[in-house]
């Protein structure tokens, strides 16, 4: 693929190139500069700095705070031989798989699918409440679930008559998985709703005419139409779930690190314990994982456009 930058020679500027307001290249760059400056300083620079910080023994306080030493890849070796890091990585995988790939995707699709065959009023009510969970600020939703799951007064124990089960202490990882599913299903539901709306009804009709059951209809008619959306949805919500810090407000990573997903691990390591260098090393690992997911996503997006 040729670089997108090619093909804009100086002669092109004279012909109609869409520059109807006579902006010109110099002014265009001037218009662009303040925004790019802000992005460079507060988004790009921190990411690049992570590269350097991860190679130092930078600490929040003490002598290493004033004169950080260059320690090479020690932080990475340390991270890769640290049980807490692998515990956190494992928990993160289960968390992302459980709440995004299974929870949000499957539930979102099931809701979108069912809502195509119920009355309009029912559909509107269901969609409203699913969306509400997504829109309410996260500090509030975490409190709502803290109340739901409370040991002695929680509504969940009252509903299931499970006595004094301390859900957040006994099942911390399961709790944040259910919580994150609850919060994020709206996106998958909306995406799959619009995807399902693009399936031509005539194709479904003919499938039904030849006697295809619901499963066959889904596999042979619906799925080919929404395959792209399934992939898009999975990649996006994986990225978001991987980066969410909200469960911190529910379990703070505990008890005993049992819900210590990577974002919370980094926070506690770097900003609570003050090990900024080690925290940076793990941040970089996280950014690289993000990069892989995002690159796959953007490539798919480009393929679909062309």
């Amino acid at each position: 693929m040729p670089a997108p930058a090619a093909g804009t020679g100086p002669s092109r500027a004279v012909v109609d190139d869409g520059d109807v307001a006579g902006l010109g290249k110099a002014r265009a760059v001037a218009f662009l500069a303040p925004g790019l400056l802000l992005i460079s300083l507060f988004l790009v620079f921190p990411a690049l700095w992570t590269l350097y910080l991860g190679l130092t023994n930078y600490r929040l306080s003490g002598s290493a705070a004033k004169n950080p030493q260059f320690v090479g890849i020690d932080n990475y070796i340390h991270a890769l031989s640290d049980d807490r890091f692998f515990n956190s990585l494992g928990l993160t995988l289960i968390f992302v798989f459980g709440s995004a790939v299974i929870g949000q995707s499957a539930l979102g699709f099931a809701i979108a699918w069912t809502m195509t065959r119920v009355r309009k009023s029912v559909r509107a009510v269901v969609e409203f409440f699913v969306l509400l969970a997504w829109i309410i600020p996260s500090s509030v939703t975490t409190f709502l679930w803290y109340a739901m799951l409370d040991r002695s007064n929680g509504t969940l124990n009252a509903m299931l008559s499970t006595g004094n089960t301390a859900w957040l202490l006994d099942y911390p990882l399961q709790s944040i998985i259910v919580f994150n599913t609850w919060v994020g299903t709206a996106f998958s539901m909306l995406l799959f709703s619009s995807a399902l709306a693009s399936v031509p009804p005539s194709q479904l009709e003919s499938a039904r005419m030849v006697g295809a059951g619901p499963w066959a209809q889904f596999r042979d008619v619906v799925f080919p139409h929404i395959r792209g959306h399934v992939l898009t949805n999975t990649l996006l919500i994986t990225l978001w779930t991987f980066n969410t810090f909200t469960p911190y407000l529910l379990t703070a990573g505990g008890p005993d690190d049992r819900s210590n997903i990577l974002p919370i691990f980094i926070y506690r390591l770097a900003l609570n314990d003050g090990a900024l260098g080690q925290g940076s090393a793990i941040s970089l690992i996280m950014i690289i994982i993000n990069l892989v997911i995002a690159t796959v996503y953007l490539r798919l997006l480009k393929e679909r456009k062309s």
């Binding site: 804009t8 902006l23 109340a147 980066n243 810090f245 950014i287 993000n290």
Partner: protein, 289 residues
């Protein structure tokens, strides 16, 4: 004989279809009921507790009172924190709207070398450098710049984080605004900045409104960035301050928290549904949640 067998087979098939239909209806209803229960029950607390004379953690019909709101309005920290959320949200909104429209207009009208690559990179950056992944260097940067415990600093960080997405979406809007007005304005001798302000901005208003609301919603609920960058409770936004409302006995102050949560949630919920009704939902890559 064969005809008889045939008809009984049709009857069998019909009854099986009826059964299938019935089961489908049952399944549909049970599933819908379960989904509603899952999504509605946790929210009921937010609806009932603020109006309950004795709010507990459990969901129950309220013993009606407005006293919790009196508690809320008598609490200066709580009210100030809502003001702080407003400052952060509006501040970031202004920054991204001004810088975003300048940048997206320039990208939309002029073929700067490397434009597509730049847009692609912006989108990539905004999805991979999240507040979570970059919290350590961002924190250190703000320490070095002396912007810890500064609301201005929080606005800069939050704006920097959402600006790539803003530019990306706004460029789409700018691309689709008609260009003939700009041409005429130029013939009358208007300068580019004037054309942008008087001609393009009014045309792109729906896009700008969507972006404005989106930016406010993003910042209004953000917890992490103000949590790590602000120190004084008097500067902290609602999302952070909410977790400091405890009674003297160390229990969460439910009267205050319930009323506060409701007041804190209403603006974003209202704006969201307003935008949805007017412009419909839009999907864009790279939107940070």
């Amino acid at each position: 004989m064969t005809a008889l067998r045939g008809s009984s087979r049709t009857a069998q098939k019909e009854s099986r279809q009826m059964l299938g239909h019935f089961l489908g209806l049952m399944g549909k209803s049970v599933f819908t009921a379960l989904v509603l229960a899952f999504f509605v029950i946790p929210v009921l607390w937010l609806v009932f507790a603020p109006f309950d004379a004795h709010p507990g953690l459990n969901v129950k019909l309220p013993e009606f009172t407005l006293n919790n709101f009196k508690v809320l309005f008598d609490n200066p920290t709580a009210i100030a924190s809502l003001g702080n959320s407003l400052i952060l949200a509006l501040g970031s909104m202004v920054v991204v709207l001004v810088l975003g429209s300048l940048a997206s207009y320039s990208l939309s009208r002029v073929k700067i070398p490397g434009r597509d690559l730049l847009l692609y990179t912006l989108l990539l950056l905004s999805s991979i450098i999240t507040g979570t992944a970059a919290m350590v260097p961002t924190f250190l940067l703000m320490v070095k710049l002396g912007l810890i415990d500064s609301q201005f600093g929080v606005i800069l960080v939050l704006s920097g984080g959402i600006l790539p997405t803003v530019i990306f979406i706004l460029k789409d809007f700018m691309d689709s605004t008609p260009k003939s007005y700009e041409e005429s304005a130029r013939l009358y001798g208007a300068k580019p900045l004037r054309i942008l302000w008087d001609v393009v901005i009014p045309l792109a208003r729906p896009g700008l409104a969507t972006i404005a609301v989106w930016a406010v919603v993003q910042v209004w609920g953000n917890f992490l960035v103000p949590y790590i960058l602000l120190r004084s409770p008097s500067k902290s936004p609602a999302a952070v301050v909410m977790y400091t409302f405890y009674t003297e006995g160390g229990q969460p102050n439910l009267a205050l928290i319930s009323a506060f949560s409701l007041l804190f949630s209403i603006p974003v919920v209202a704006m969201y549904f307003f935008v949805n009704r007017r412009y419909g939902f839009r999907f864009h890559g790279g939107i940070k949640s």
